[in-house]
Amino acid sequence: MDVRTEIIWEINVEILVCVRRVPDTAENEIELNSAGNDIERDDLVYSINEWDNYAVEEALQIVAKAGGNVTVVTVGSEDDEEVLRREMAMGANHGVLITDDAFNGSDGKGIATILKAYVQKGKFDLILTGVQAEDGGAQVGGMLAALLDYPFASLVNSVEVVDAKKLKVSREIAGGNREMNEIDLPCVLSIQTGINEPRYVGMRGIRQVASLEIPTFGTSELGVDASSVGGAAAKVKRVDYFVPALGKGAEMLQGSREEIIDNLIGLLKAKGGLK
């Protein structure tokens, strides 16, 4: 008989979760502004990037089992404090805002360079990012790992703490299959949606963290060379936005709901959609 009992870990994993505030695509129709150089940002509803929220929940579940602390960090502006507070209301111990005019216009490498400087000021065992952002390219986690020379795993959909030195993680690969890996700490993981069920955050929770101090860091605090980040250093730059024209587009059914349903049933019969 297997008599292994559950180990009470006191591994104390120090976790940094990199998050972003983005326009919520579930709440907004994204449209172009009149100049075509950005999306129309007036009246947009912003929220935590969905992938990042799963990453914070995963961090909280890891420290609940193994001990430790969760710090959430974002590179942005004062407007982004609200997502830090939201994640602190979920249970993150610390929030950190990295902001400096010199950081504006950074590309993925610039953001990774800034985050590297912050990571090196602390002592983190595990760094989590979301797999991607709504307007991003699934790049910062992998770049940050390479800059730090840490091992990296992307598309992570389960994390198990093996001991103080390593994790067992699964990666989502094609067809719903899972690739199991062992990975040494410290490391960087990009977290996929669906890995867990992020806890609900109510207004009461947000109010409880409203007065907590959120320290800010800029170029001087981080010791970042301003010429290595920001718009001037960016090698990847958006020129404009446009609405894609893919395919011929659907024939839109018009009329009252009743007319549309009659029309649709006719189409379903013709195409073999009804048995």
Partner: protein, 322 residues
Amino acid sequence: MARIFAYIEHKAGVADDSAAELLAAAKAIDPAASPTAVVTGWGADLDSVCNALTTSYTEVWKIAAESLAYPNAELIRKALAKVVPHGSILLIPHDHFGVDLAPGLAIKLDSTFVSDVVAIEGLDGASLKIVRQEYGGQVSTHVRCDVSSGAVINLRPGSFKPQENASANGTVVDKSSEVGALSSGRRYLETVVAESGDVDISKQAVLVSIGRGIQEKDNVSIAQDLADAMGAAVSCSRPVVDAKWLEKSRQVGSSGQTVKPKVYMACGISGSFQHLAGLKGNPFIIAINKNPKAPIFQVADVGIVDDILEFLPELTTKIREL
């Protein structure tokens, strides 16, 4: 002109379909380009992939190592960083492997990274103009990339149409000795195959497929009722599985099942490319979504702008009356 390389994924001795797409993308950067294929792996499988590629690529770089028998991106990144010359443009498929490999590789090669490219408009000096999508495909953006110190470019699968090429009659160049010993802090253990579910959606002729628009678990029965009335099965997009409203085996898409129904009703599904990648066989697509700008309307045959929570029950009632 920078030298262009294409990283070739392969399985069981056969190159992935992306091999031909990367070749087409290289021609979009420079019509005169003659890109070099780079293949990593081990044994007879690697040799057969390399040999087959000589019909389309004029040069095929083979990197053989026993540690590369399974494509662990951590090890392959180290191998490529040693072999690919500084200043090159390296093309990689934007899939579960390319996402793992490429961003860090661009750092190691000290080159520019651009991800999930859907079109290449061309090179102007050292400035490459490409097209990306944002916000789930609701808007697109032109992006300029400075490739003067090289670039790693991830290309969306299916976006570049393979061309009919005359036989390249290429040669295989063995680069294995330049790589040396490889090790990584991440070790591949095993692949766990997805569990099959109660309904095999890949074999259904008619699918009622639901997305985020179904809003909550209790509403899934609305779709099930319609499917029952139609003699169809219920499938879904990723957010429904993430929320645990349906089993993973019901998910259509690149990280779920590939389906080939005759009729596909996309209900409250925005239509991300990952979802559409699971839809094969040219089905008749009916899209119902309350957002008239949802990308699904660009690929559907018939579109209806309405709230599925009201529309589907009325449709079910009408079908039951037939």
